[in-house]
């Protein structure tokens, strides 16, 4: 199926990823592959209790070990660097890179060792003796919200990080005050049907294939710091590192070499990164720290962990008249860069794809003795869509309606776009019914239902689930995150030999930008992809950027690059015009030639124009020599892809094991640059959604606060054998908000798939009186429901 790359028509083709040969042959270059002369290694002494006061630390045995260069306790490090940054508008407790006085989650760093090799550093960290006075572990967020059994941060009464943040109908968005409850009350008072359900989007471990890592090299001779990092966003990392170290951004360079996945967990700059930079500056030597998998489970951000009390009001025809969500988000022990902002995204999703007149989302965020949460693939949108789509399914079930039909009567119609939700979100475009019909047809929905009923008649527990999603992509505009800014940057240089070097501020760590962006530029210039290099992930080479997260790379990064390309094309036309004795506006690019539009083959070769631009005799009037330009760009609003997912599951009556037998999807992410890469994103996204639905859950012991699912022996990410062949298709509804009409696809699969699967599981057990099941769908939980008990 893979098409041969042909200049001039690459966008829209299944071009194979150019980065893959390097990566699959082991020729990539990751942080841990790099060795610098004189480099020292860090290891962190970590707390093994969930909550306690550090009474004493004895580092003497570690310091006495040959090869140990330095040991710093948290208190000593706090003398060099301030607490870590937070980019949300909410008040946050001090969060030190290494804790100076108290541990608040298992695995929190207490001290750092610097040694001549990694093994020695680990031995020395083991030799540090810490006396901790244990405090009760705060694990249940709803108990925590009453200060029970302890208060984690003294300045935050009852462990309330965000005590009450309402959004939606009747809420003043400026003051966050509830001003008018009447519409909400009226909707529920007048409802024919009300659905109410407590639900839980459980805590997850992101599990990037490559754990985190950092090398920091401070050069005392010129006061410059270079940091090699597994970051998704080197420019944000540069901003944060410079701020914490008290350096100028001109003195700091951050390089993200090949990075093996992130899923949001590598947006943050972590304590280990700040510690490494501070220690390198203190010693004047490069230092390296590589996270091991145990540390990754315990001390890289977790995702989700939101409880929702859903109330949904509707007419007897299934028309939803109001949705209310009361959320309790367990954000863990501290706030990282975006921690407190992530659950606020749930409110943005509350309308889903439906024309709902009244919505309301009340959010409370709570500290517990767990690893902080932050953005994990989907970040707030999977929670919101899951809660809503479960509610819609419960409504269908209550009214005896087909789950497809209850959705159909509530869809926002194509002529309503741009559509403003009751919560104030502006949707760019959508054709939901087309996608629904395509999914139903591809699945053979009526036949599926007949087959399910026949299987049920045999006593088999077969269930069907349907769900629909939309989500927020293409983060900007900057107004959505004023602390950071959400623009993107692209630059394009055509070198004097006609080869193209382009830079992008988004930082690929699996998304395939080296391919998709080269496809775009190859089409614009009409030259071979092989003549184009996409440079990313290095603040020393890429002038500006925000980074790769929130499914924004193609939308925002791609557009910036396209605009920079257009500027360089204009310059090339100005150089080519005198060569052809034509006006620049007459000229186009085709098959390596620049010439009169429609007769490009009569023009001049692209390479000749490039050479002329660097030796312009005579220089065309009002033109600078050279062919290079750049563009900053931010969108005026979010893009809203959407789709429909249909699942078929069968539950083993004897064991409770759930098998996902079919998965049918129709996604719409607007125009597609590379269908192969889009399919890859959807596959991976669905797999992670299947993980959340069926196999993944980060569980802390309620008493001890220990992370029980702390390795791949206990925490199951789905394997190929756990997944059916995904039956995928798409519709195309371009976004009007960017020139390519693209929307973003990185998170859609994760966002849309969990409700589809849980809806199917609930359907399978509907004969047992089951109305809702919380994720993950553990076999024992399902077995208990089949036995007639509670989950």
């Amino acid at each position: 199926m893979t098409m041969q790359a042909t200049p001039g028509q690459l966008v829209g083709q299944r071009v194979r990823r150019r980065e893959d040969p390097r990566l699959v042959k082991g020729r990539g270059s990751y942080v841990d592959d790099m060795k610098l002369p004189g480099m020292l290694h860090l290891a962190f002494k970590r707390g093994d209790v969930a909550h306690g006061i550090i009474r004493s630390i004895d580092t003497s045995a570690a310091e006495a070990m040959p090869g140990v260069e330095l040991v710093l306790t948290g208190a000593q490090l706090a003398e060099i660097i301030p607490p870590m940054p937070v980019a949300t508008p909410f008040p946050a407790p001090d969060h030190h890179a290494v804790t100076p006085d108290r541990v608040r989650y298992v695995g929190e760093p207490i001290a750092v060792v610097v040694a001549t090799d990694r093994f020695l550093a680990a031995d020395a960290a083991d030799a540090i003796e810490v006396d901790i006075e244990e405090l009760p572990a705060v694990i249940d967020p709803e108990r925590a919200a009453n200060g029970d059994p302890a208060v984690i941060h003294e300045a935050f009464e009852n462990n309330l990080a965000v005590p009450f943040a309402p959004a939606g109908t009747g809420v003043n968005p400026e003051t966050l005050e509830v001003e008018d409850e009447s519409a909400l009350n009226e909707a529920f008072d007048n409802a024919d049907v009300v659905v109410s359900q407590r639900m839980f989007s459980q805590r997850l471990v992101p599990n990037a294939m490559e754990p985190r890592g950092v090398i920091a090299r401070f050069e005392p001779g010129n006061d410059e710091l270079t940091v090699w990092s597994t970051t998704q966003n080197p420019h944000i990392a540069r901003t944060l590192l410079a701020a914490i170290l008290g350096m100028g951004q001109h003195q700091v360079r951050v390089i993200a070499p090949d990075v093996g996945g992130g899923f949001g967990s590598k947006i943050n700059v972590y304590g280990e990164d700040f510690a490494a930079a501070a220690i390198s500056r203190r010693l004047g030597l490069p230092v390296k720290w590589i996270e091991d998998r145990s540390e990754a489970f315990m001390t890289t951000i977790h995702g989700r962990d939101v409880i929702c009390y859903l109330d949904l009001a509707a007419t007897s025809e299934g028309k939803v008249t109001a949705v209310k969500m009361r959320l309790v988000a367990d954000i863990g022990a501290y706030e990282m860069v975006l921690t407190a902002a992530i659950p606020t995204l749930v409110a943005f999703m509350i309308s889903g794809v439906y024309d709902i007149p009244v919505v309301r989302c009340d959010l409370t965020e709570v500290f517990t003795n767990k690893m902080p949460t932050d953005a994990y693939r989907g970040a707030g949108r999977p929670e919101g869509i899951y809660f809503l789509e479960r509610g819609i399914d419960m409504l269908a079930s209550k009214l005896g309606m087909d789950p497809a039909e209850v959705r159909r009567v509530n869809f926002i119609q194509p002529d309503q776009f741009p559509y403003t939700t009751a919560g104030g979100m502006v949707y760019d475009s959508g054709e939901y019914e087309t996608a629904l019909d395509k999914a139903l047809e591809n699945a053979g929905w009526e036949q599926m239902k007949a087959d399910r009923d026949a299987a049920r008649a045999e006593g088999r527990l077969v269930g069907l689930g349907l769900s629909f999603y939309t989500e927020i992509c293409g983060f900007g505009p900057s107004a959505a995150m004023p602390s950071v800014g959400l623009w993107e940057h692209g630059s394009v240089s055509v070198e004097r030999d006609g080869k193209v070097r382009a830079t992008t501020g988004v930082s690929t760590h699996g998304q395939g930008h080296e391919t998709t962006f080269a496809q775009m530029l190859a089409d614009e210039f009409s030259i071979p992809m092989d003549d184009i290099t996409i440079v990313h992930g290095d603040t020393g080479q890429v002038r500006g950027g925000t980074g790769t997260f929130g499914s924004r790379s193609q939308v925002v990064g791609g557009t910036a690059l396209l605009l920079a390309t257009a500027k360089v094309q204009d310059k090339m036309r100005r150089f080519a015009a005198p060569m052809l004795e034509l006006q620049p506006s007459d000229l186009s690019f085709k098959d390596g030639m620049i010439g009169p539009t429609g007769q490009e083959d009569t023009g001049v070769p692209f390479v000749d124009v490039a050479a002329f631009a660097y030796a312009p005799v005579p220089l065309p009037p009002d033109t600078e020599p050279g062919l290079s330009d750049e563009a900053f760009w931010e969108p005026e609003g979010f893009t809203w892809p959407f789709g429909c997912y249909i699942s078929q599951v069968e539950i083993d009556r004897d064991t409770g094991e759930l098998e996902l037998q079919r998965f049918v999807g129709v996604d719409d992410c607007g125009n597609v640059v590379n269908p192969l890469i889009v399919a890859g994103q959807i596959h991976g996204g669905i797999a992670q959604g299947v993980g959340q639905a069926i196999t993944e859950e980060a569980v802390y012991d309620e008493e001890s606060g220990q992370l029980l699912s702390a390795s791949f022996m206990d925490y199951a990410i789905p394997r190929a054998r756990d997944l059916p062949r995904f039956e995928l298709d798409h519709t195309v509804t371009p976004s009007p908000l960017n020139p390519m009409g693209v929307k973003g696809i990185g998170e859609a699969g994760t966002i849309g798939s969990t409700p589809s699967i849980v809806n199917a599981a609930v359907d399978a057990l509907s004969g047992h009186g089951v109305e809702h099941i919380d994720m993950m769908l553990r076999p024992e939980k399902l077995w208990r429901l089949i036995q007639g008990g509670d989950a």
């Binding site: 290891a43 091991d292 069926i694 206990d714 756990d722 024992e780």
Partner: protein
């Protein structure tokens, strides 16, 4: 995930391995495939001072059959068991159980001797060797000896193996009809519960049954009440249901993957499945 420092020595023969173990100071451990020991070392839950690598000792690998008696060298990997022609023909239950272990990478490294000696309460092969009434052949400084598999496993990671002894091979009579059924842990692929059943059937009547469970309790063990219920039965659905209902063990494990109640119930379910599969072989 960074182990403590340790010494490493490679043994060229069983005798050399035993001598190295006897002469070692501190905590010396034999290592073959390493797929149980190395993860524990990475977590510093095991910190041996010396690893004696027996993985390269010649003559301890492979499967052979002689007059209906099958012998498996201790260093035979799970992957080799899975594909072995002798086993597939004469004792498919062993190949079947080996193929259910972990994932391909684990099966490529892990060995039957290592699995039995380590005796993880959730590992698959202990149930199989107990059900097959296998003999475990052991060499040590005191010479060679043989222990019946049913007597070999005695508790949580506890086996009848002295400090300076190692397993050299496992042997058993080719079973008439045997099968293994397992509830797979979704993450580790260990057995939440695994049951091996070996039946002798004459004229439609079960004249002998050995049924063993792993994963449910501290160690692999026979399900005596099940065996008694099966013996003399016609192995019809009613008899199998009645026999599996008798499946019970003490000291039932409980963890995130399954409570005590669930494991007890699954022991009954997979006892039934193993017997049914064996009966239809």
């Amino acid at each position: 995930m960074i182990p403590s420092a340790f010494e490493y020595q490679r043994a060229g023969s069983v005798e050399e391995a035993i001598a190295l173990k006897q002469g070692a100071e501190g905590d010396a451990r034999f290592i073959a495939g390493g797929h149980s020991l190395i993860p524990l070392m990475k977590l510093r839950l095991a910190e041996p001072s010396l690893l004696i690598d027996i993985g390269g000792i010649p003559g301890l690998s492979g499967v052979s059959e002689d007059g209906g008696r099958i012998s498996i060298g201790a260093l035979t990997t799970h992957a080799d068991l899975e594909d072995d022609a002798v086993l597939l023909a004469s004792a498919p239950v062993v190949a079947e159980a080996a193929g259910e272990i972990g994932d391909q990478q684990v099966r490529n490294r892990g060995t039957i001797g290592g699995s039995l000696a380590h005796a993880d309460p959730a590992s698959d092969l202990p149930a199989v060797v107990v059900a097959l009434d296998a003999s475990i052949h052991i060499a040590g400084s005191g010479g060679e000896r043989t222990v019946a598999a049913g007597d070999f496993f005695s508790g949580l990671f506890e086996v009848d193996l002295a400090e300076d002894e190692l397993i050299t091979s496992v042997s058993f009579d080719a079973p008439s009809q045997a099968a293994y059924a397992k509830l797979r842990h979704p993450a580790s692929h260990f057995a939440i519960v695994g049951v091996a059943a070996s039946l002798t059937v004459e004229g439609g009547v079960c004249t002998g049954a050995r049924v063993a469970v792993t994963g449910a309790s501290t160690h692999a063990q026979r399900l005596g009440a099940v065996e008694d219920a099966l013996t003399g039965s016609a192995l019809d659905d009613a008899a199998i249901d009645a026999a599996s209902a008798a499946a019970d063990v003490d000291d039932v494990n409980a963890d995130l993957a399954g409570s005590e109640e669930y494991r007890r119930a699954m022991t009954r379910v997979f006892t039934g499945r193993a017997i049914s599969a064996a009966a239809s072989r």
